[in-house]
């Protein structure tokens, strides 16, 4: 039964991705400019040659059909800008960078967020609660393009503790600042989600039952409360992780990381159609798959859920 549910959801994924790609393709057409446009106007003859070479002189449905056919075969073609590389090459080269930063950031956010959220929920309206929730509010409101430069200013340019930018493999000190910057908002959000979820669960009757059994407060929280209290965090994890892994534009830009996000910006600025579509396809598949994983995880966490 569970297996059939998974297969059904995976099948639905395919048309969804194709719809996303179609929309993306349409939007690229609507945007002004071309991948070959420069400040100088090209001589018409040259422009005609370029258009013929890339098939842009064909009617739109032919172009669309050709693109879709390539995508169904999972071949996104060559990048228009980085001509020696296929889109697949670029994806495989940049993905590890983005995934490393994203996973580390989410892991950090999860540990710190769940911990502070739980502690805050255990002592509501205490000093710890107020301080941590004020910090969480700050973390949510402070955009990462502000937080990132501040961290660089303090820890790199003033204290000289950490390198300010650039990818240097894993593990390396270069990761600290981008991971922190990326993590902040998720940390804050998870802390608040955890606090709200735990507060609700801790008020529930079955927690009173657990206490009446004579369990210690730690056992009550860990064994009985966390599972229900963290459900909101689990549902948040799916989309969050998908987005984090597939590269975050701003942070990769600030810290000059050769990740998916950074290439995505460049691809858009360059009107590099194959690369844009390749990245969009990858991100949408990631979002759909991670959401599916969350739904599956839900069924394991909450026995009342049946698919």
């Amino acid at each position: 039964m569970k297996f059939r549910f998974i297969v059904r959801r995976l099948i639905v994924t395919v048309p969804m991705v194709l719809i996303v790609i179609t929309l993306t393709w349409g939007l690229i057409r609507l945007a002004p400019g071309n991948f070959y446009s420069t400040e100088k106007k090209l001589p018409p003859a040259i422009e005609k040659n370029i258009r013929a070479k890339y098939g842009l002189d064909k009617p739109w449905y032919v172009q669309y059909g050709r693109m879709m056919w390539n995508i169904v075969r999972l071949d996104f073609g060559n990048s228009l800008k980085y001509e020696n590389e296929t889109v697949n090459d670029i994806l495989w080269r940049t993905l590890p960078v983005s995934a490393t930063i994203g996973l580390l950031a989410y892991l950090l956010a999860l540990v710190v967020g769940v911990l502070t959220g739980t502690l805050a929920a255990l002592k509501p309206n205490s000093k710890l609660d107020y301080v941590s929730m004020a910090l969480a509010m700050l973390g949510i409101s402070l955009p990462n393009f502000v937080l990132g430069p501040i961290l660089v200013l303090v820890f790199s340019l003033s204290l000289y503790w950490l390198p300010p930018a650039r990818w240097n493999g894993f593990p390396s000190w270069n990761l600290v600042l981008p991971v922190l910057t990326l993590s902040a908002i998720y940390m804050a959000y998870i802390a608040r989600l955890t606090r709200a979820g735990m507060l609700e669960v801790l008020r529930s009757d079955y927690i009173r039952t657990a206490r009446a059994k004579g369990l210690s407060e730690r056992q009550v929280v860990v064994r009985h409360a966390l599972r229900g209290g963290l459900l909101p965090v689990v549902s948040f994890t799916g989309p969050a992780l998908a987005i984090l892994i597939s590269g975050t534009v701003v942070v990769e830009r600030i810290f000059a990381m050769p990740g998916l996000g950074n290439y995505f910006i460049n691809a858009n600025l360059n009107r590099d159609e194959p690369l844009i579509i390749g990245i969009v396809a990858f991100v949408s598949i990631a979002v759909l798959v991670f959401n599916l994983l969350v739904d599956i995880a839900y069924a394991f966490i909450d026995p009342r859920i049946r698919y």
């Binding site: 079955y206 039952t209 009446a212 369990l215 064994r223 229900g228 909450d302 026995p303």
Partner: protein, 372 residues
Amino acid sequence: MMSGDNGNLLSVRDLRTYFETEDGTVKAVDGISFDLKRGETLGIVGESGSGKSVTNLSVIRLIPSPPGRIVSGEVLFHGQDILSLPAEEVRRIRGKRISMIFQDPMTSLNPFMRISRQLMEITQLHLGHTREQAYEHAVRMLETVGIPEARARVDSYPHEFSGGMRQRVMIAMALSCEPELLIADEPTTALDVTIQAQILELIRKLKEETGTSVILITHDLGVVAGMTDDIIVMYAGKIFEQAPTRELFAAPGNPYTKALLKSVPDPVHEEGTDLYQIPGLPPDVAHLPPGCPFAPRCYHAEEVCRREFPPFVQLNAEHFSLCHFAGEVYAESRAERDARGGATPSGANVEPSENLGAVDPSENPTQGGAGR
């Protein structure tokens, strides 16, 4: 087993539990005292908000704090004050020597955990069972509380059980460690009427088999009638009347108790008439008037009731009533009973009030009857 002072398993002395709210201090329990002898059953009756649940949560220190706070008092369990014990020792009493059943079995079991684990965890904790021992014990307990095919169903999740079955699981859990005191907080309120009778019968049977003392909290006088030795009637955080069950039903000495008894439906004698209800609402315990808290709703109230707090009057050896006119009300009740052809006023074998309809307290031989 330790012997307590003069046969009392539990002695509550001047217990006060207050809640700090934005609206002021709510005196949910305000100066409650009672004794419970080993093997006896005590009924605590009252409307919602009368403090009956808070009293019992205070006994095992499960008051959520903040906002709740046990302000003063003693809860002597075997002569030892639970309120002054370190938290860790209270935990050793909870679930093992004093256990609780709660009102709503649908929400009182952990929905994410198998029944087996929820049962096993308590004996692993208190009796040092291994996993295998605890599992076998869990199956045995489920059989004891009458769950069919217990072995096949022990690994179910709570949502796979009906309300009545879940309350049976709660009872199994509460009795796992053979506690000396079982506190049942409205154990049947959330259940169908047919299931209610089964659950009460189960509690009574298990109580007789194990000799556990029981505190039965309810707002339903019909429930306590057949099961308890003594009854406490609570109102606005205070004990309004305290008496052996038969005595209380036969000759209530408090207008509030009389009104409660009158509002139990009696299909035999009152068919076609309107059901009696106590006028007004329970008072806001954060803002109590200076006089008797029941005065605004009392048929007997006079000027003095609104002005002065009533005395706790002793009507006979084991019968107390918080009322300015306790003696008069008591005499009135006895006269009414005589008019109905009851036994002698101070007799030991008084019949239950006819107001109770189908419920017959004499099914359960009363040990704490009047004039004992």
